[in-house]
């Protein structure tokens, strides 16, 4: 019998806070992190809102406790800030005491910094310090710099499945624990805003000039965001022997591909339906045991129809309270799965359902509407967290209250 997997530490940085407590506070205060960018060099500076973390790279070096130096991209620095909090919360001071794997997620690696010097990199006439950033072009760079800074030296991996990347990182880590390969894994993702991704999504006509309105009939697209989040996963036997503080259980998960279209979900949400259904079945819980769904809810025209239909198909007339937290953080791509997994744990720990900001009008294709007011004092035992991406990559996680 495979071991249960528990969450024993969490760390994060998003547009609504530099740590988990600040994120919770701003979720409660319904304070969105969306606004205009200070750091991206783009013609859309005052046009397209983003969920930017208002800390310069210098400030992030400071938070990460390391001197300002070359080769550390914003992706890496955000990851380090979140990682330090996760390890601290789990009480991990020395990673050598227990073999611990690290599964990271990223969609464009260090693009945030390399895009600024790319034309120098390919120009033989240009020389300078920028050359040391060559290795930051790929996705493994941030993972290894984080690993080397905090001392991971066991299994490491980087996953890139677009917007479901860090949900898949959590899943991969949990499975390694269940297979008995490790007793402890740290999993999540990091994503910095880039001109590359902003223009990418804008070229798809998927970006809203207003603050995004998930599940609203008038929604016109997403706002990008940046952030990082990591969760410490431990096997039940290790967590007990180690006297770890158990925050929640990662009780179910599913990765399913939709095989419908390179970037669009199917109108009936086949992939989302399969991912949620199978993740819930794995958790051993029934439909009526789910008190909250933290939806992917990007506010693109297609996602919300597809995900909404999947919810209606799975839950019938009894769709649980659901909301998208993207209007708080923006869509943080590879980091979204881990950020929202932490929000799910906070929901369970504090009995809160977060409001879906900016909603006003029910979608004509759906009969359901998201939660629009903050709900406190709710008994929440099971939360489904959805992350869906390009390439038909769908992932759902089930986070459950730890009851011994």
């Amino acid at each position: 019998m495979a071991e249960r997997v528990f969450i024993t530490g969490m760390g994060m940085v998003t547009a609504i806070g530099d740590n988990v407590a600040e994120n919770l506070q701003h979720l409660r205060q319904q304070k969105s992190g969306l606004g205009f960018t200070d750091y991206i060099d783009t013609i859309y500076k005052q046009v397209l809102p983003v969920g930017e973390i208002k800390l310069s790279n210098e400030a992030l070096f400071n938070r990460a406790g390391i001197p300002v130096q070359g080769g550390f991209t914003r992706t890496t620095l955000l990851g380090l800030v979140a990682m330090l909090e996760a390890l601290q919360q789990a009480g991990i001071r020395n990673l050598s005491k227990e073999p611990t794997g690290f599964i990271n997620a990223s969609t464009v690696g260090g693009m945030c910094d390399t895009e600024k010097v790319y034309f120098d990199l390919i120009n033989p006439e240009k020389e300078g310090d920028f050359i040391e950033s060559i290795n930051t072009l790929d996705c493994a760079d941030c993972t290894q710099r984080i690993a080397d800074t905090v001392g991971f030296h066991d299994h490491i991996a980087t996953i890139s499945t677009a917007c479901s990347s860090s949900a898949n990182a959590l899943m991969f880590g949990a499975r390694m624990i269940k297979h008995g390969m490790y007793r402890r894994m740290v999993c999540g993702g990091t994503e910095a805003l880039t001109r590359f991704t902003l223009n990418g999504f804008n070229s798809l006509k998927n970006v809203d000039k207003q603050f995004c309105r998930p599940f609203d009939n008038q929604r016109t697209g997403l706002n990008l965001g940046e952030g990082a989040a990591y969760l410490v996963l431990e096997s039940e036997s290790f967590a007990r022997a180690n006297n770890s503080t158990i925050l929640a259980e990662l009780s179910g998960y599913c990765n399913a591909n939709e095989a419908f279209h390179p970037t669009s979900p199917s109108p009936e949400g086949d992939g989302a339906y399969a991912a949620m259904k199978n993740a819930l079945a794995m958790s051993g819980h029934k439909l009526e045991d789910v008190q909250y769904v933290n939806v992917h809810g990007t506010a693109t025209l297609n996602n919300d129809v597809s995900e909404g239909r999947a919810l209606e198909r799975l839950f019938g007339r009894k769709v649980p309270p659901f909301s998208s937290t993207k209007p708080f953080t923006g869509h943080t791509l590879a980091a979204a799965g881990a950020i929202e997994a932490i929000y799910a744990v906070l929901s369970i720990q504090h009995g809160i359902i977060f409001p879906n900001l900016n909603f006003s009008e029910k979608m004509e294709e759906l009969s359901i509407i998201p939660v629009t007011e903050l709900q406190e004092g709710v008994l929440i035992k099971n939360v489904i967290s959805n992350s869906f991406g390009f390439g038909g990559n769908n992932a759902s996680l089930v986070l459950s209250k730890y009851e011994g």
Binding site: T42, I43, S106, T107, G109, E115, Y118, F119, L121, I122, P124, I131, I134, L137, D138, C139, A140, T143, Q144, A147, D148, F152, H153, H155, I156, A157, T158, I159, S160, T161, A162, F172, R175, M176, H179, M181, R195, F196, N199, G200, N202, S203, L204, N255, A256, N257, E258, A259, F260, H261, P262, T263, D270, G271, A274, G389, F390, G391, G392, N393
Partner: protein
């Protein structure tokens, strides 16, 4: 991870004639420059013409190797699709970066952005084959393909009958230049066949797309068995020696990732000192790239199936063993990601 699984089908697009050819009578393709390019097959039998026009090079190479692999293995559905790639579609990434600049961020064509996404090949295979199972893409330099293997071995343990598992990489002239600035390649041209004549800083670049169908049980399609895949991140010599001894002591053939690069050759010297069995290289065939381990696995399985090592492909090896049942592959990527695979005759 130590679990036995079976290679039920495979296909490789590489700088050698691996896609159509039979390893026993394959010529060694000689390249004088430091950049080995894939011999691309005719894609038309695999991809409809209207799709082909839109697809960039690595998408075509990835999808085609995957489709041929599925056809060879006799499975009707791909099952879980798990891949590794260090760089994804470089061509699309380069194109989109340039178009952002050129068109001043306006009226951009989204296609290169979509195709630059690292999981686009996976999505394409799923779409074309209606593969709605598990789907994952690892993007960690010299651990990309090997993590895909570990994931696949876990999936087979979890009850899937088979997986489609692959690695793919391309090298563009632009990226070749970029990596030359940090000493990845030899500064003077060296032919692939002369790569091992002397150890000097840097090596030769390569690329490839290699796919496998891995099964939980042996069947009539089984080409070879993969019994272990171990990843070591920046190991110290003690750790590396211990792992090589543990997995390789009873092997009768070693496939070494040696690439003539004096900066990181000491690991391959350690291999030779630790495991003294007959050893053959493979980087003269495929060049150096993040997922070259997939090519090495293809080579190991091909040799086990053929039961012989064709001397035409290994002119630099004095004596080739004629009888071998268990092969150990050791490879590392610029000294950071070290991997050991064990491949056995079925």
């Amino acid at each position: 991870m130590k679990v036995k699984c079976y290679i039920q089908g495979m296909a490789a697009i590489s700088p050698q004639s691996t896609f159509e050819g039979d390893i026993t009578n394959m010529p060694l393709v000689r390249t004088e420059s430091n950049r080995l390019a894939c011999i691309e097959p005719d894609y038309k039998p695999y991809i409809p013409a209207n799709s082909l026009r839109r697809m960039t090079r690595i998408l075509k190479m990835g999808l085609t190797a995957a489709l041929k692999c599925l056809a060879e293995s006799g499975v009707s559905t791909p099952g879980p699709i798990v891949t590794g790639t260090g760089k994804g579609s470089l061509q699309d990434t380069e194109k989109f970066i340039k178009e952002i600049e050129q068109y001043k961020e306006t009226a951009l064509n989204p296609t290169p952005f979509i195709q630059s996404t690292y999981n686009s090949v996976n999505g394409l295979i799923a779409l074309q084959q209606q593969g709605t199972d598990y789907n994952n893409t690892f993007v960690h330099r010299g651990f990309s393909f090997e993590n895909a293997l570990v994931d696949s071995m876990m999936l087979l343990q979890e009850g899937y009958t088979h997986t489609l598992t692959g690695g793919f990489e391309e090298i563009t002239p632009e990226h070749f230049y970029i990596k030359s600035r940090i000493g990845h390649w030899r500064t003077e041209p060296v032919a692939n066949t002369d790569l091992f004549n002397q150890e000097l800083p840097g090596t030769i670049a390569g690329e490839g797309s290699t796919f496998f169908v891995l099964g939980a049980e042996a069947n009539e399609h089984s080409i070879a068995a993969l019994s272990a895949c171990k990843l070591l991140y920046k190991p110290d010599p003690m750790q590396l020696t211990a792992t090589l001894r543990e997995l390789g002591a009873d092997a009768d053939l070693i496939i070494s990732g040696t690439n003539g690069d004096s900066n990181h050759a000491h690991y391959y010297h350690l291999l030779n000192n630790t495991l003294t069995q007959p050893s053959i290289p493979f980087k003269h065939l495929c060049g150096e790239y993040e997922t070259a381990g997939a090519f090495a696995l293809w080579l190991a399985a091909s040799l086990l199936k053929a039961g012989t090592i064709p001397s035409a492909l290994f002119p630099m090896v004095q004596q080739l063993p004629s009888n071998f049942k268990k092969i150990v592959i050791y490879n590392h990527f610029y000294g950071e990601q070290h991997t050991v695979m064990v491949v056995e005759r079925v």
